[in-house]
């Protein structure tokens, strides 16, 4: 082990879980725990991360962990925060919800809205792999434009998902969250730093981590990080931090790569390179990236 690795914080997600090789969820959970340390409580909705880490009687979690349902994670977290407040131990123990994009952007948005509006002191980490992976790659509100999923498949008259990603950070910002950051599991240091800031900030904070899924997106299990980096380097996934509703930091990109570099490596966009009219569609996706460069000053 190199001296550099030795100095890294201990992983509190034990090996031996049932995640796929190259699993983005395992990375996201591990980085989150590296930032949080041992004094935390994790709340996890139904999904891949929950299933792969806790087949009874096993658990990969070396911190207190609770799974209730798919759509109530933020409410459960707010109850834990209230209990710690009532006991007078709030402030020391970090309360961290970790949910996928489906449970965050779609089915769980009501309880997230409520918990952020009420101002509970907790951090919500969204692991965004852009579809319902645990149930077999169905479209979610986070599925990007033209991605082929099992419920938004490309076909003779369709290029796949016809809507852009829901802008969840903006929704959270509208709730007055003091700290919001987008990050990617392809940039562990960035993610750990941002989760730490979120944990240390009093109030409801939000981390939205882009997370390439080898199974759902269709790429080799060795390419998770590479694909994650390409999303950032093509400007399709802007990385920024917001404090009290204002963007305060942005990760600059020197020369954004063409979106084809990102798209061509994934099965979910394969149809764009074979179907008639695919080129036009790729131009539309390039326009999304170009707009990000302008909007976020990348």
């Amino acid at each position: 082990m190199s001296p550099e690795l030795k100095s890294k914080p201990k992983s509190l997600l034990a090996p031996g879980h049932r995640g796929c090789a190259g699993c983005c969820d395992a990375m996201a959970a591990k980085f989150t725990l590296m930032a949080a340390g041992e004094d935390c409580i994790v709340i996890n909705p139904t999904g891949c991360l929950e299933v792969m880490t806790t087949p009874y009687p096993e658990s990969a979690w070396e911190v207190p962990w609770i799974h209730s349902l798919f759509e109530n994670t933020a409410a459960v977290a707010s109850g834990i925060e209230a209990a710690l407040k009532a006991k007078g131990t709030i402030g020391k123990t970090k309360i961290i919800a970790i949910g996928g994009d489906g449970s965050t952007l779609d089915i769980g948005i009501r309880s997230i809205s409520g918990a952020f509006e009420r101002g509970h002191d907790f951090t919500y980490v969204c692991i965004d792999n852009e579809a319902y992976m645990n149930t077999g790659v169905q479209r979610s509100g986070a599925t990007p434009f033209d991605a082929s999923t099992t419920t938004s498949p490309a076909g003779k008259v369709s290029f796949g998902n016809q809507r852009p990603k829901k802008n969840m950070p903006a929704i959270i910002a509208a709730h007055g969250s003091p700290y919001i950051a987008t990050t990617s599991i392809a940039y562990p240091k960035d993610m750990i730093r941002k989760v730490k800031i979120a944990n240390e900030t009093v109030g409801p904070t939000y981390i939205h981590a882009h997370a390439p899924c080898t199974t759902g997106w269709g790429f080799d299990t060795s390419k998770t990080v590479e694909i994650g980096k390409l999303a950032v380097e093509t400007a399709l996934w802007p990385m920024f931090e917001m404090e009290d509703g204002e963007i305060t930091k942005v990760r600059k990109i020197k020369n954004p790569k063409p979106v084809e570099d990102y798209l061509k490596m994934q099965r979910r966009f394969k149809h764009l390179f074979s179907m008639e009219g695919g080129e036009e569609e790729i131009k539309k996706i390039q326009a999304i990236a170009d707009k990000n460069v302008v909007d976020f000053g990348l």
């Binding site: 041992e38 004094d39 935390c40 409580i41 709340i43 929950e50 299933v51 806790t54 087949p55 009874y56 009687p57 096993e58 658990s59 979690w61 070396e62 911190v63 207190p64 962990w65 609770i66 799974h67 209730s68 349902l69 759509e71 109530n72 933020a74 409410a75 459960v76 977290a77 707010s78 109850g79 834990i80 925060e81 209230a82 209990a83 710690l84 407040k85 009532a86 006991k87 123990t93 009501r110 309880s111 809205s113 409520g114 918990a115 509006e117 009420r118």
Partner: protein, 404 residues
């Protein structure tokens, strides 16, 4: 055993039913209350909010959540973190909680909730019946039904004691009839803090979310283990049968009030006809039965306090010598044309040597008044059925034929 009350007139105050329940919750020293307003539960949560605003519930957090779904979900987290937890809801709110109710009991979290019973939509209706809580019958919650406002308050303390018992660890609903009990002003004894402290031990669960001793809550169970989780829940409900009796007896010793444990029997000894029911209708039934008793007629009453766990043994024992049983239900299983208490009473008499006709009446839907004359009509039909047998096994009561 029949209900007994040591009535201390000097201690009695005239308050709204909701207030007596909110006060009972307060003196049970909850740590987290989480609720969403819905008629006719609102007065309970308003009173609790006022207690919070006045600093009268120390060591407690009150969450004004954005839905009933989150109200009960927040208590999943709070209870797992070691807090004594309370909520109140009714009707649509309870139905919205449905998915979480299974989760709470499956995770063995002793949440206590008042259900202010109300009809369910459609058609929308804010008045009382029992369709809301009866529809949650199989969610693994203890369900207790109160006859009057004093019992609803007293039952709240009993519910915490039963639910939090380490051999039970199952959530409990205290069901009280909407408006009829929640909004009525009656003289009651507000639960005394010192007596409640004597009665109800502090909540000190063995399994909590604690970074010093990390545990995983809510793991997934595959076919090789899932069955045993269900079995253990059922076993805990079996233990709860005894604990409900114990909680009622201990309450009687400390507070001097007793309403029965699992059931209350009223005039059942030598009774030819026994009426069964739950909730506030019991008061009306007792009055009617008293009038008949004074004429020498042998009519008795079984008030079912605990619908879950269902007291099969006690019910069989109470009914075994009756000549006719009549069950009143403020609910219906549509497609079966029966109310739940009727169906389950019949079921528990099957495979026994007890051979008594049982007739079911569905009554008081959506808050329709239940006058004494309706009860008299049912008794008349029961008397006839005793001689000639049952014509109609289960039926709606007081149907307005002109609307059909």
């Amino acid at each position: 055993m029949t209900a007994t009350h040591d009535v201390d007139m000097e201690k009695m105050v005239v308050v709204e039913g909701s207030y007596s329940v909110a006060h009972a919750v307060k003196v049970c020293r909850p740590n987290v209350i989480s609720a969403y307003p819905i008629t006719p539960q609102t007065h309970i949560v308003e009173d609790l909010s006022q207690f919070m605003a006045d600093g009268e519930i120390p060591g407690c957090e009150y969450l004004n959540v954005e839905s009933e779904f989150s109200a009960i979900s927040a208590l999943v987290g709070a209870s797992a973190a070691g807090a004594r937890t309370y909520s109140a809801t009714t009707s649509q709110g309870l139905e919205l909680m449905h998915e979480v109710l299974f989760n709470v009991s499956g995770m063995r979290l002793p949440v206590v909730m008042t259900v202010v019973n109300r009809a369910v939509s459609a058609p929308i209706n804010i008045w009382n019946d029992h369709q809301d809580s009866i529809s949650q019958r199989d969610t693994g919650w203890i369900q207790l039904y109160a006859e009057d406002t004093q019992e609803a308050a007293d039952m709240t303390a009993q519910a915490f004691k039963i639910a939090e018992d380490k051999d039970v660890l199952m959530p409990a609903m205290v069901c009280m009839d909407g408006f009829i009990l929640s909004h009525v002003y009656e003289p009651v004894v507000l639960l005394e803090q010192d007596l409640v402290d004597q009665y109800l031990p502090t909540f000190d669960p063995e399994f909590v979310l604690d970074p010093k001793n990390p545990m995983s809550f809510g793991a997934f169970a595959d076919p090789s283990t899932y069955t045993e989780f269900r079995y253990l829940q059922e076993k805990a409900m079996g233990v709860a049968l005894r604990k409900i009796e114990d909680a009622a007896n201990e309450f009687n010793e400390i507070f001097g009030r007793y309403y029965g444990g699992l059931i209350e029997e009223y005039n059942t000894e030598d009774a030819e006809i026994i009426i069964m029911a739950m909730g506030s209708i019991i008061g009306t039934l007792k009055d009617v039965i008293d009038a008949h008793s004074s004429k020498g007629e042998k009519i008795g009453l079984v008030k079912v306090r605990s619908f879950r766990p269902f007291p099969k043994f006690e019910i069989k024992k109470a009914l075994k010598d009756a000549k006719m049983v009549v069950v009143l239900d403020k609910n219906i299983s549509i497609g079966l044309n029966e109310g739940a208490l009727f169906t389950e009473t019949k079921a528990c008499l099957y495979n026994t040597h007890i051979d008594v006709p049982v007739a079911g009446y569905m009554i008081g839907h959506g808050g329709r008044d239940i006058p004494v004359s309706t009860i008299e009509k049912i008794i008349d039909e029961a008397k006839a059925a005793m001689k000639t047998g049952i014509d109609i096994e289960s039926q709606f009561t007081d149907l307005r034929e002109e609307l059909l």
